[in-house]
């Protein structure tokens, strides 16, 4: 029974899914082609790695958001959570509790993951056990996390004080493995893990089942509360991973950290083909979505076509056109 319920929503759209799964990548390719026309430097190795590395935060968070949304939830607290975890991580790095530098940095990363998981757990339990709309719960925690950071920073910013720690940790964002920056490797890792969880495990099937029809899932013996709560914990972990590469970039966190990330992440998820209603999730589409958003911004800056006052309008228009094109491609099949 569980099997049947889990397969049902996935089996029917599978044939169409192959198109809708490719569509975001086609849109991305099209936008990149436009970028190359606008400025040949767009395709330079440095620019592409810059853009990929910059998209890490949103891409990583959006993978978690894909799981949450597929399971029928929503998490608006991710940007504020990122700011809060960044602040705590930097305070820990400044605390001087551990002398050994590599150990200090690794402990800070572990701390970030633990705090992220706890924040996610809190969101999850309040939504499921408390039976409150996720929109409201995470809107509440969004305010809580952001205020906590502002309080920790006393209204200013929190910066890594020790220059040696700063220099060593900096490599996590700016360093690379065989020319591939670490942040890009992180996107790949998180996407592979997310896709594995969502498509290849029983838990992933349960997430989709819960998202497409909560009652049917419950009658077939799935613990809806447990499945949903875990999606929020995974989201928290994704936010923590984003923080781990965000902190070394500018070595500081302030009230502006992560501002608006929740909407950008949700946009990436939707542009990637995931339904906001839940039940169907596209991890790789989400990655394409996050890249599309970052690439559009990059192209706007590199081209001289658009006035600095109109960038927002053109970005919005391109997103809508990309979505319409995707819809067109899916329908023509």
């Amino acid at each position: 029974m569980t099997q049947a319920v889990g397969e049902a929503p996935a089996a029917a759209p599978r044939r169409r899914m192959s198109v809708s799964a490719v569509a975001p990548f086609l849109a991305l390719a099209l936008i990149c082609a436009l970028g190359a026309l606008a400025n040949p430097r767009f395709l330079s190795f440095d620019n592409l790695t810059n853009v990929l590395a910059r998209s890490t935060f949103i891409a990583t968070i959006a993978v978690g958001q894909t799981l949450v949304i597929t399971g029928g939830g929503l998490d608006l607290s991710v940007g504020a959570m990122a700011a809060f975890i960044s602040g705590l991580t930097i305070l820990f790095l400044n605390s001087g509790l551990i002398d050994n530098m590599p150990l200090l940095i690794v402990s800070a990363m572990v701390l970030a993951l633990a705090v992220g998981a706890l924040c996610g757990l809190f969101n999850g339990l309040t939504t499921t056990i408390g039976k409150i709309e996720p929109f409201i719960v995470t809107l509440g925690t969004m305010g809580i996390f952001r205020s906590l950071l502002t309080w920790l920073a006393q209204g200013g910013s929190i910066t890594i004080r020790n220059t040696d720690v700063r220099a060593a940790y900096r490599q996590v964002y700016f360093g690379d493995l065989f020319g591939v920056p670490y942040p890009v490797l992180l996107i790949l890792g998180v996407a592979v893990a997310g896709a594995f969880i969502l498509y290849a495990t029983a838990y992933g099937r349960h997430v989709r089942a819960v998202g497409s029809n909560e009652d049917v899932a419950r009658y077939s013996g799935i613990s809806v509360a447990r499945v949903r709560t875990i999606t929020y914990v995974l989201q928290g972990l994704c936010v923590a991973l984003a923080v781990i590469v965000y902190v070394p970039r500018l070595s500081s966190a302030s009230a502006a950290t992560g501002l608006g990330w929740e909407l950008t992440a949700i946009t990436a998820v939707v542009v990637g083909g995931t339904r906001l209603k839940g039940g169907v999730g596209h991890i790789w589409g989400t990655i394409a979505g996050a890249l599309i958003l970052e690439v559009i911004g990059n192209i706007m800056l590199l081209s001289n076509l658009v006035s600095e006052y109109l960038i927002g309008a053109v970005q919005g228009a391109i997103i809508i056109i990309a979505m319409l094109a995707q819809r067109g491609m899916s329908a023509s099949r």
Partner: protein
């Protein structure tokens, strides 16, 4: 007779009590600490509130922060309903908040506007602000001196609000006549993350950049990180502004990449509160416009502007 005496006594007591409590209330409405500079504003407002309450025992100071213009409009209404004698307001967007501020003023409240001035100047009694055109002009002056043979520069602007325009217009006026070309200009929203992105893209787009004007010390952090990553050596210097302690420290230490900084201190909110309190408590006529100079901070005078304990 006795009754009259008693009621007179009671009346006297009441008057006495009322006189002892000529308490006055000053409300301070500022934006939430959404970037370093506003963080400094909140810090200085809180500190000054404590200091003023100590100095004037009858004075109550309420500091209220708001995340956006709409929330600030609501906050102004709420504060006004509580009954206040003076309002010190640093508006998110002065033109948007013109009417809400006018409403407070029409109730007879003394209004002090800080930093961001509206087109309509009838809405305040007192204005305390930094010299925004001066900030642009000071920076332009330095560019002319530092690049005597001209050069290609990029500009990273703040948010699209009036003070940003005042700064940029004055800067463009200031460099007129010199062979300095602004080869690109974009908004960085006074955010270090956005400034990092914008600078990365500027570096990709332009093979040669002589100098950067980025208006704000917070944004300079993102700019420096982007330059370091690109390992570019063509950029001779970056001029920012505000007088954040880390930036002043760099100037003081003689960093060639940050030779100067332009003062635009968030402590102006404290000046505004102080002057307002003078008018309120001591009856000194303080109405008028107070413009704090956009001093050029150089290696020689940097120590006068370095506040180690400030969060900003």
């Amino acid at each position: 007779m006795k009754r009259i005496l008693v009621s007179l006594a009671v009346f006297g007591l009441m008057v006495g009590a009322a006189q002892a409590q000529v308490s006055k209330t000053m409300a301070v409405s500022v934006p939430t600490a959404d970037h370093g500079w506003t963080g400094g504003v909140v810090f200085h407002a809180m500190e000054e509130a404590k200091a003023l309450e100590k100095k004037y025992p009858g004075l109550k100071v309420i500091v209220k922060t708001s995340p956006d213009p709409a929330a600030q409009a609501d906050a102004l209404e709420d504060l006004s309903t509580q009954g206040i004698d003076a309002l010190v307001v640093l508006p998110h967007d002065p033109n948007v908040l013109t009417d809400p501020i006018r409403k407070v003023k029409n109730k007879g409240t003394f209004v002090t506007v800080v930093d961001r001035i509206a087109d309509d100047r009838s809405i305040y009694d007192l204005y305390v602000g930094g010299d925004n055109p001066g900030l642009g002009a000071s920076a332009a002056q330095f560019f002319k001196k530092a690049l005597p043979n001209g050069g290609d520069i990029v500009v990273i602007r703040g948010l699209p609000i009036p003070i940003d325009k005042m700064r940029v217009d004055a800067f463009n006026d200031g460099i007129k006549g010199a062979k300095i070309n602004v080869i690109d200009s974009q908004f960085g929203n006074w955010s270090r993350d956005d400034a990092f992105k914008v600078m990365q893209d500027f570096l990709t787009k332009h093979p040669k950049i002589d100098a950067v004007w980025c208006q704000d010390d917070d944004m300079a952090i993102g700019v420096f990180e982007a330059i370091a990553q690109a390992k570019r050596t063509d950029i001779k210097f970056v001029v920012a502004g505000a007088g954040a302690k880390d930036a002043v420290k760099r100037v003081m230490d003689g960093d060639p990449m940050m030779p100067v900084d332009v003062l635009y201190s968030p402590s102006m909110v404290a000046v505004a509160m102080d002057v307002t309190a003078l008018g309120l408590e001591e009856g000194i006529p303080v109405r008028g416009d107070y413009i704090l100079k956009a001093t050029l901070i150089t290696k020689d005078n940097a120590k006068d502007f370095y506040f180690k304990d400030s969060p900003f």
